[in-house]
């Protein structure tokens, strides 16, 4: 994951988003969302740029970025594995599933794997409670899981 995301092209995209939102009240959150989409994360350089353009102090932006769990300053792995630990999944044994994945990729929840390939997160309820327990790997959703299903799923990535 040594890929440099702070490219000229990405900053141009950001500029466009900023221009579109500049006049709006409360523009910071929408800009941060788009920024995260463009860069994959919100490193301090990106926050500085937003600060200058929106005339909001960097400390305030940093405060907002760190407050919300969806915003990330560090880049995430190629595959983000989310294990739902909502109540419905939890009572249906989501915890052993999280432990199993953690064991397989040797990564603690909330961290990136050593090779930067995976990010493991324990997510909030994603609302697919009918399929509990559920995990997501980027856009893919796997439901009605048992611990034994995990190695098979992980092999695909």
């Amino acid at each position: 994951m040594a890929k440099n995301v702070l490219t000229e092209e990405n900053f141009q995209k950001l500029q466009k988003v900023i221009d579109e939102n500049k006049g709006k009240r409360g523009a910071l959150m929408p800009v941060l969302h788009e920024g995260q989409k463009i860069f994959g994360c919100l490193p301090i350089e990106v926050q500085k740029k937003i600060s200058e353009e929106l005339k909001i102090s960097l400390s305030e932006i940093y405060g907002v970025v760190t407050f919300y769990s969806q915003f990330s300053i560090e880049p995430k792995g190629e595959y983000v594995i989310g294990v739902c630990l909502g109540t419905a999944c939890y009572v249906k044994n989501a915890q052993p599933i999280l432990d199993k994945i953690s064991e397989i990729i040797d990564t603690k929840p909330g961290e990136n794997s050593a090779d930067g390939k995976f990010t493991l997160v324990a997510t909030r309820c994603i609302g697919a409670c009918g399929l509990a327990p559920v995990i997501t790997v980027n856009e893919d959703v796997y439901g009605r899981l048992k611990v034994d299903d995990i190695p098979g799923i992980m092999e695909k990535y």
Binding site: I126, G127, A128, C129, G130, L131, V134, V141, G143
Partner: protein, 122 residues
């Protein structure tokens, strides 16, 4: 929208398409495409339905998406509103099953009982 008459006009036109009673014209197939349906595999089911309808050249069949039908555990599920018939709910589908429904039920008029909610509940 500048007037209520305009709204009524849209309503009247649209009502014919979405008539859910058996006196409707043509067939309407709705696929549950809320988050749970999609995660359970509703997309391939919907693609299979559309493809099969196209392939068989069946007329007056609309395949469309809808929100949560409510019984998440039975996803992916579809509901078939066919002219002259009561609604049929098919559950726990796959693309393969979806194709069979088009062939048997939509083309040949024979409800695929083993995929209906009644059969699943047993």
């Amino acid at each position: 929208m500048k007037s209520i008459a305009e709204l009524q006009k849209i309503r009247k036109e649209a009502l014919e398409k979405v008539n859910l009673r058996s006196d409707r014209k043509g067939t309407r197939i709705v696929v549950g495409m809320a988050t749970c349906g999609i995660s359970a595999g509703a997309r391939p089911v919907m693609m299979a339905l559309i493809e099969e309808v196209k392939k068989r050249n069946v007329e007056h069949v609309v395949v469309t998406q809808t929100g949560c039908i409510g019984a998440c555990r039975l996803e992916p599920m579809i509901e078939v509103y066919k002219e002259g018939e009561e609604k049929v709910t098919y559950v726990d589908l796959t693309a393969e099953k979806a194709r069979k429904i088009i062939v048997d039920h939509i083309v040949n008029g024979k409800v695929v009982d083993e995929y209906t909610i009644g059969a699943y509940e047993k």
